[in-house]
């Protein structure tokens, strides 16, 4: 027996930590880690609602989110490595070539 709002508040805390990490970090790999935290918060919500509504669909969407996160990390780290090769730095605030 477990009450739904406790799980949701845990997810909200994970999400807020991720928001802070994306905004405050300047290292691109750390920004990707913070994005993973936010995706996990969404997964916690999906599984919690799946359990409380007695419907397996939420878990399946959590699995889909995990697959998309894996694709996102693969592409993201490839971009980071490419950036490091070209600029010798992965600080996101120094990548302003497209900003005028």
């Amino acid at each position: 027996m477990i009450r739904l709002p406790f799980v949701l508040i845990f997810a909200a805390l994970l999400f807020s930590a991720g928001v802070y990490g994306v905004l405050a970090r300047r290292n691109a790999v750390m920004v990707l880690m913070a994005i993973e935290l936010m995706l996990n918060a969404v997964n916690v919500n999906l599984v919690a609602f799946s359990a409380s509504l007695r419907d397996v669909g939420g878990q399946i969407f959590a699995l889909f989110v995990i697959a998309v996160a894996a694709a996102e990390v693969g592409i993201g780290l490839a971009l980071v490595i490419l950036l490091f090769r070209n600029r010798a730095s992965i600080n996101v605030d120094e990548v302003n070539l497209l900003k005028w």
């Binding site: 996990n40 995990i66 780290l77």
Partner: protein, 166 residues
């Protein structure tokens, strides 16, 4: 409070502390290891809620594969150590936004689902039920996800390989 809620409280406390440590750590490798603990506590939450398959997939894929990818990324980019090298100078603004998001979400959650509301039993969805549902109702999104994963794989190889021409 039931036994399950006590167990969840311990898991959530460990997960919350390590999630905050991920975004405040001064050493990138420490941050990656804190991320392992945070992801494990999310997996334990899944298992506690009865989502067996999702829980083990979470532990295998996130802790087993994605964190290793992060560690490879850190090794290949010679990440610096120290707060000034990792955080930008206006992090207090990020802290303000993060706390604002947390306060807003908690207000909305306790508004929609009262804290002393009805508790629910863990929902034991077997792996058979999950597979049945994926290949019966969600076959189209499943195929779309597999195509996306293939495209991401090819894209990552194309991006990260060295050009042989120059």
């Amino acid at each position: 409070m039931t036994a399950q809620e006590y167990a969840f409280a311990v898991i959530a406390a460990v997960g919350s502390i390590s999630a905050i440590a991920v975004v405040t750590a001064r050493n990138v490798v420490h941050a990656a290891l804190y991320l392992v603990v945070a992801l494990l506590s999310v997996g334990a939450t899944f298992l506690l809620l009865g989502a067996e398959f999702a829980g083990w997939v979470q532990i295998l894929i996130y802790v087993g594969a994605i964190v290793i990818l992060f560690l490879f990324g850190l090794m290949l980019t010679k990440a610096p150590i120290g707060r000034d090298a990792l955080d930008n100078t206006r992090r207090w603004l990020g802290l303000l936004v993060g706390l604002g998001v947390f306060a807003g979400l908690v207000f909305l959650i306790q508004d929609a689902f009262p804290l002393d509301g009805k508790a629910f039993e863990a929902f034991h969805a077997t792996t058979a039920a999950v597979g049945d549902s994926i290949f019966r109702e969600f076959i189209l999104p499943f195929e779309a996800i597999s195509f996306l994963l293939l495209a991401a794989l090819i894209g990552a190889i194309v991006l990260a390989r060295k050009d042989e021409g120059n």
